[in-house]
Amino acid sequence: MNSAAESYISISGVSKTFNGRQGEVHALKDINLNIKPGEFVSVLGPSGCGKSTLMMLVSGLLPVSTGRIMVGKKHIDSPNADAGIVFQQDVLLEWRTALQNVMMQAEIRKGDLKQAKERALQLLKMVSLQGFENSYPKELSGGMRQRVSICRALLHHPPLMLMDEPFGALDAMTRDQLQIDLLRLCSDNDMTVLFITHSISEAIFLSDRVVVMSPRPGRIERIIDIDLPRPRRLAMREDTRFIEYTRELTQIFKGLGVFREEY
């Protein structure tokens, strides 16, 4: 683990409890994690273990119950507007077209709108949505909506990307393409990424480190360094080291006992 000193994101002693109708739900317990600038960290874990919650805490959109989160030099006690966030649900505004939804980011941040529009169109093209710029969300397929929300998060060249299963609704091929595109954008812009996924191979392919979480209350079970060269190429997935990482992570998961017997 990195020391807090050189880290961009530092999460120390963080826990989160929800007061639901069913009483308290301990979503996260004693989370400690430091992420270096420019690092790509994926979070893997069974459904409901607290991945989304962790991202919401780092974004400052939800307050921690205990502990402390720093991003850059900033103590996160309010929404961190620097980050680009891809939420698990696509959260498109139904009254705006695809392009307008992406442009919202620029309108709020009040940059150069013309330049932003150019980039928005370029991003929409990158995710193969050319021709659908002026479609309303209800005219788009699930995967298309998700891609619009990715473009929105990327629009303002954020130094930090928080992505909650951004490729979850995409087919293997589109997903491969976007993984490649994302990595390119990362290295071009020196982005730090906290990436939530449920795909082991996606985590390995993209990340410098993979954090595995255990279920309720969510804790960090293991952190695996992925020692594969960059730039990553799709062919690396046939690499023996890649397969070894896959096996290792699968093993850890099995150890979590998420699994019941087969029939």
Binding site: M56, N80, F87, L93, I108, R109, Y136
Partner: protein
């Protein structure tokens, strides 16, 4: 049951709808009303001075349009101007209420009180404060019509989803931007329902105001006609009031379609 077109409606009423759709429905109902009314007056021998027949009202309208029309313009002016003031007051008020729980709790009793006070009872106060001209009329129109705007705007502004607010905050949207770019568009359907209610209440407000004190307008005309027991003329004025109400209502409805093009209306368009 069949899914015939791109836009299957709820099946049972489908056929009936299509049959009836050949005549503009708004006209239909008006025609039916007028015919039933005329017949009822004739058959039940309702005295002319209790309920004049539509035909009699039409004759009166023809004979008196030169006075009816200018008075209708006066009332329409009060209605529209008062309505606009109600919007300008009601919408910002609803924003305060949405953003401050304290405002909500503390101001509602006052607002409700402003509604239940019989306007006739506070007429002397209004006259004291606003004089005898246009101002007290507008005040009464606003008093009557701002309430649905506030209630419905608050409801709409509060209906923003958690996720949407997270999105707004993640972009660093200011309170103003959150309101303007996220909550407001989301709230528009409820707000327009409030506006539609307000149109009708504006019309009532203008008439009430003219009852309280005016020397022109359709409310004034009703009073004057009443003082010489000209019931037919009263009804001619009432018909004009109603037309003002319906037209204003329909204008707002048309405006709604322009302002909220993304909103589909009715179950019939669930897959359009």
């Amino acid at each position: 049951m069949s899914i015939a077109a791109e836009t299957p409606v709820v099946p049972k009423v489908n056929l009936l709808n299509r049959l009836l759709a050949m005549v503009p429905p708004a006209l239909w109902s008006v025609i039916v009303l007028v015919v039933v009314w005329e017949l009822a007056v004739k058959v039940a021998e309702i005295p002319n001075y209790v309920l004049p027949a539509p035909s009699a009202i039409l004759v009166e309208f023809g004979a008196y349009w030169h006075r009816l029309l200018p008075n209708a313009m006066v009332t329409a002016g009060e209605v529209v101007f008062g309505f606009l003031c109600a919007v300008l007051i009601g919408v910002p008020l609803s924003v305060f209420i949405t953003y401050s729980r304290f405002m909500e709790r503390s101001i509602y009793p006052l607002i409700v009180a402003s509604q239940t006070v019989p306007k006739v009872a506070i007429a002397p106060l209004l006259l004291t404060w606003f004089g005898y001209g246009l101002a007290p009329k507008i005040v009464i129109v606003v008093l009557l019509s701002f309430f649905p705007i506030v209630i419905n705007s608050v409801m709409g502004l509060k209906s923003a989803s958690r996720e949407m607010i997270y999105l707004a905050r993640s972009m660093g949207a200011s309170g103003w931007q959150q309101f303007w770019k996220f909550r407001l568009p989301q709230a528009l359907p409820s707000m327009f329902a409030g506006f539609k209610l307000a149109t009708v209440l504006s019309v009532i407000g203008a008439i009430v105001a003219e009852f309280i004190g005016a020397d022109k307008g359709l409310g004034y005309l009703i009073l004057v006609a009443g003082s010489s027991f000209n019931i037919t003329r009263q009804f001619a004025a009432i018909i004009l009031i109603t037309i003002i109400g319906i037209v204003f209502f329909m204008v707002i409805e048309r405006l709604e379609r322009v302002v909220i093009p993304w909103r589909h209306r009715g179950p019939s368009e669930t897959d359009a």
